[in-house]
Amino acid sequence: MTFDVINEETAIDVRGVGKSFSNGDQSTLVLRGVDFSVRRGEVMFIVGPSGCGKTTLLSILCGTLRADHGEVHALGMPLHAIPQPEVTQFRSKNVGFIFQQFNLLPTLTAAENVAVPLLIQGVPLAEAVKRASRMLASVGISEKSGERPNRLSGGQQQRVAIARALVHEPPIVVCDEPTSALDSASGHQIMKLLSEVARDASRSVIVVSHDPRIYGYADRIAEMEDGRILRVGESRHHVLN
């Protein structure tokens, strides 16, 4: 039993989380008792070999997936215990998402895509698009706001995705392999942008990656292997190793 106090500094706290997936009669244990926490204001990386459970852990700590057992507290909310509709509402208010495949809606313009989290919260279209346009300006592609995603490069699409993740000013931003669909130069630009615009004293940014070239953007790094956190350390150690 650990005695980590959930205090002002802790945004997300994961205790003893286990998760397995069953495929037919075969069941794979993916997370084997994970203890883990993320502080406010930090950029936290979760790294490790492919298939070790990073995405699964990320899904559980932001509430898109339920753990089989263990506890998940996010911003003081017991995500493991509250009913699904409340978890959904929690995500709409508190979580910004950046996906590996960008996941922009192809029939919406860049500005409309950025407006989606606001529309989900019930903000009227005109106001949502106005705020979205401001957000697009702050990621440096305001001139693309009327374009559809298929007219944008991968780097530009990921900028739109970053704007979408931040437009509703969520205290938690989760990113799954944000650079893996990009070339190395765009990847660095995206990480640079992300650490500039997303970093905020009250916001936690959690990045899943297995791309060592971007580990330098982390404040702390959690190393995973085979469904467990091996260790959590300051990023400097990694860069040096």
């Binding site: 898109t64 959904t88 509402q89 995500r91 709409s92 590996q100 192809p106 919406l108 409309e112 989290p117």
Partner: protein, 379 residues
């Protein structure tokens, strides 16, 4: 949120067009099937439409408008003596053979003999001539179709004043009426009750119907009952007569099967093609719907979005389909095709389309409810 659904739907033009055209096609098929249904029923009781009478008295065995069972000549007086009857007039309806003078093929006609003194039940839409000329010499009134039919036999186009024969007796056209077309292609020839005898092979009893009106201010049902009680005959309002006839057709003709097939195919196409296309449309968007779920869109909002999409597809497809059909019906020559676009038909079709769209939406919503928001993290 629903704006996102609209963008999803309208954003992919080709798919949207496919969805709408499926519904449109189903609308057209069902509308045309139902119009055919009512059209054929209308044809089957055309005689009761063309002869205007509030109450029809017929032989008790008669089950449909086309069944012309002879009555006794005295029956008209017996009906007249029933309290509440304002007037009663004899009517002859029967088949005759028309042919041009000097030979040629004969054409079957429905011969109508109207009460000689009152002309009760006479057609109301006379295109040419005067109904009163029926009383002169050999005068008959024919319908517009009759002119066409006779032209087919020898290429001559008859006009008012021309003469033809029935049962070797001359008949002179004194007018042309516009009437509803009957089953089997026979056209209508109107004459007087007295002269009708000449135009058909001799038969003992001529009267087939008694046309009746109830006195003003008298309720109709008791009059019907009184006629029945006093004469033993069947007395029906025009609507009852038609309904009885329609019911007989439904029981005894292949129409329900033919029409049922058309309407059924329309419904199945609607459900199968449109429903299936819509479901596929939603499935193809499941990744995006998953992303929306992950970002916190509730199941209710997603459901409303999908229902809105289905409703729009339904409305637009139905609207275009009904529009196309109204246009089609407006250019059809009046009364020639057994198609009647009753105002009820679009309502029935609308209900069917609504059913189809809601079924598609429900299945799609159910499928989307199975999407885990976590799938958005999967490659």
């Amino acid at each position: 949120m629903y704006e996102i659904g609209l963008r999803m739907l309208f954003g992919e033009r080709a798919k949207y067009a496919m969805l709408v055209s499926g519904v449109c096609f189903a609308t057209i098929l069902m509308t045309q099937g139902l119009a055919l249904f009512f059209g054929i029923l209308g044809f089957s009781y055309a005689t009761a439409t063309n002869i205007r009478a509030p109450i029809w008295v017929v032989d008790p065995m008669v089950q449909q408008v086309g069944d012309n069972q002879p009555l006794r000549d005295t029956d008209v007086d017996r009906v007249r003596s029933v309290p509440g009857v304002a007037w009663a007039a004899p009517l002859f309806v029967g088949g005759a053979q028309a042919k041009l003078l000097g030979g040629g093929a004969t054409q079957p006609v429905t011969l109508i003999g109207l009460d000689t003194s009152t002309l009760a039940g006479a057609p109301t839409r006379i295109i040419k001539g005067d109904i009163l000329d029926l009383r002169t010499g050999q005068g008959v009134i024919v319908d517009a179709r009759f002119i066409e039919m006779m032209q087919q036999t020898r290429g001559e186009r008859l006009a008012v004043g021309d003469v033809f024969e029935m049962n070797d007796r001359r008949a002179q056209i004194v007018g042309i009426a516009s009437v509803a077309q009957g089953m089997g292609g026979a056209t209508y020839v109107f004459t007087t009750f007295d002269r009708a005898k000449d135009y058909v092979p001799s038969q003992r009893k001529m009267m087939t119907h008694v046309l009746v009106a109830a006195s003003e201010g008298v309720a109709v049902p008791p009059v019907l009952a009184a006629i029945k009680a006093q004469t033993g005959l069947q007395a029906l309002t025009e609507a009852q007569f038609k309904r009885m006839s329609a019911n007989w057709m439904l029981r005894n003709s292949p129409i329900p099967y033919v029409v049922g097939l058309i309407v059924g195919i329309g419904f199945v196409i609607g459900l199968g093609v449109s429903g299936q296309t819509f479901y596929t449309f939603v499935l193809e968007n499941s990744r995006h719907l998953g992303a929306l779920k992950a970002m916190g869109a509730s199941d209710l909002k997603i459901t409303l979005m999908i229902v809105t999409q289905a409703a729009i597809v339904g409305f637009v497809g139905f609207g275009i389909g009904v529009g196309v059909m109204s246009l089609f019906f407006s250019i059809l020559p009046e009364g020639r095709a057994p198609l009647i676009l009753l105002w009820q038909i679009p309502l029935i079709v609308f209900a069917a389309i609504t059913l189809i769209c809601m079924a598609a939406a429900v299945v799609s919503v159910w499928r989307v409810s199975k999407i885990e928001p976590a799938i958005v993290f999967r490659g």
